[in-house]
Symmetry: C2
Subunit: 377 residues, 2 copies
């Protein structure tokens, strides 16, 4: 069975995702479509607007199998996000990764990926890192401001391609053009497509524009967001007040004394938004800061980080997904494809289970990894 | 200057406290009255209904000097509470401790205190502790159910007397009769006196009964409680979900694997009240459990515990209190009587400062140890 993998967040699922999934199937000429989806927290450094179980249901309108991207992936910068996603794809024996990019030229992106693997070995690169420059800035300096590197989906695509070269050399890639300008748009101004940001805003504000830009047959799944990032603030404040510096220092992604800045700024902040603006410096991107705060919220320490895949959490599947899972289990009897979490399998997913408990605390939801059955359609 | 010390919580201050302070002054024939008062968290294992600054203002209607009982004292069982309170009194050169008791016979209580110091050295005592019996139960067995030990203020008084024998042999004691039956009454049914419980309830429910039982001249200080113990629940739940077992194990007062019970029961609980009832066993008293939960909330670890007094935090004073402080500073130039907390003195009060920050998070108050001047009348 030939399979195509999509690395996704579906926060929430919309027509752009449907379009990408449909084209990916056609162009890859594969039988099975697999989404590797972020769980309850997303790469922007926020809780997802709906929990992963609902987002799985949405996803199954377009794909055959939904597995959870390990939490560490979702709360890392693009290279680690890509590494963990590609290793997950490898574990699932995926043949082709299909990703959206502004460029849509696989050749150009491949060329940059190869170049960047070289750049990163260069002494200049390490020197600039030491000087406190951000990773995207260094790359754009080293590549003489290559315009390809000014588009977020190109950057992520290049990270996938780098990870594939390093960790999954037999996997192939496919890229589908997406409109960069859409990505950060604040309001819905297109008849069929809109950015995640504008859709989340529409759902939050109870305005019905979102109805035009999500697939008809799953509209009943959409409701007011389960939670927003502001709900995290009291808990983050509590952590920053009560944890000693050494504990904060051990939190994943905190480095260079950022814990000091956190403990100073928390006393001047009375909302997530004000904390972000107090923490803002040239040195760090907003998403870096948000991911740090989510790692604080979830108490993810450097010791909790494992970039290897020892098991994959299956969140949902269609009939075709079920056949594919059978095929995987037959071919890789020593791998762990887990469709239900229980006392025996929970140890593989400690971070994800914790994230679900915290998500429920934020959102007053009650579906846990233990009490929620595999989603099937 | 001869001084009398009152070990108090004033949660909130009421006529019973005024009565006790007045009689203490008369009977001790002293010039200065000093309250050693719990800060923002009280021995019942709860946040106080008003922050310590407001409670200091209330207290100064009856006493000359208000100092803060170190947080560790407030969140410990009666022996450690008493030890830290008596050591604080010693640091303040207090001559006489005056406490309320149901018995009112200093001789009887002294006799029991001496007996109990002996009992605690007895192998039987340690054996019973190992069997998992609670401290009050063992004592009542060893003293053949002495009726004196069935009244909470007698027990606390005996703890003071024991601590004085051990740590402040030159300090003397005075006890004033209080009506035991009042202590836990739920409603106000007396014209002038009522229990703290019934007064807190009246304030919470916006019923005006409390007005009859607090001193007239300070009634304007009373308002709806700043917070209740239920406000702590989301934060405690968050801690119990996100902290690994080893971290919980290091929390002060947690022992014998109580961390396991906490992590199991938190998932079955959706309020502080339900958590308490889920945690309830014969082995532990409710106040023990509540104090454990406050130590979790404040992240007070075993390493944060210091039973020695290296400085005393002065919260408020009258003119007479000011003279006494002058006298202390002249006589003990190496001791630290701190009237304002700043970067230089903050290290003495790490636990108390943290408790204030958490109290403010719970209650939406904004008076910190740094921005609140000494209360003076």
């Amino acid at each position: 069975m030939k399979s195509v993998g999509l690395i996704t967040e579906y926060n929430p699922f919309h027509n752009g995702h449907l379009f990408h999934a449909t084209l990916s199937k056609q162009r890859s000429e594969t039988n099975v479509t697999i989404a590797i989806m972020s769980g309850n927290f997303v790469m922007r450094g926020e809780p997802a607007i709906y929990h992963k179980f609902k987002r799985t249901e949405m996803a199954l309108s377009a794909v055959d199998l939904v597995v959870e991207l390990p939490l560490i992936g979702s709360l890392s910068s693009s290279d680690t996000f890509a590494e963990i996603a590609i290793k997950t794809a490898q574990y699932l024996d995926i043949d082709i990764i299909s990703f959206g990019s502004e460029s849509a030229s696989l050749k150009d992106l491949q060329y940059l990926a190869t170049q960047m693997i070289d750049y990163e070995k260069h002494p200049d690169f390490k020197e600039k890192l030491k000087q406190g420059k951000s990773y995207p800035r260094i790359l754009s300096e080293l590549t003489h401001n290559d315009t390809l590197l000014q588009s977020p989906n190109n950057i992520l695509g290049i990270s996938y391609l780098k990870a594939m070269q390093q960790f999954a050399p037999h996997m192939s890639a496919l890229t589908i053009k997406r409109e960069g300008s859409l990505h950060h748009q604040k309001v819905i101004d297109h008849h069929h497509f809109a950015s995640g940001t504008s859709i989340r805003r529409s759902l939050m504000n109870d305005n019905v524009d979102w109805k035009n830009v999500v697939p008809n047959q799953i509209q009943s799944l959409y409701c007011k967001p389960h939670t927003t990032v502001e709900d995290t603030f009291p808990f983050i404040k509590h952590q920053l007040i009560t944890q000693p510096k050494e504990s904060l220092h051990s939190i994943y992604t905190i480095n260079e004394g950022f814990e000091n800045r956190l403990q100073t700024m928390i006393h001047r902040s009375d909302s997530f938004e004000s904390l972000l603006s107090n923490l803002n410096t040239k040195r760090y991107t907003q998403t870096y800061i948000q991911r740090v705060l989510m790692n604080v919220l979830l108490n993810i320490t450097k010791d909790d980080v494992n970039k290897e895949i020892n098991a994959v959490r299956v969140l949902g599947m269609s009939e075709k997904g079920r056949s594919y899972l059978k095929y995987l289990k037959a071919n890789y009897p020593n791998r762990h494809y887990i469709t239900n979490v229980n006392q025996k399998t929970a140890h593989y997913f400690k971070n994800e289970i914790k994230a679900t408990h915290v998500y429920n605390l934020l959102s007053n939801q009650s579906q846990t990894d233990f009490n929620t059955p595999l989603v099937r359609i």
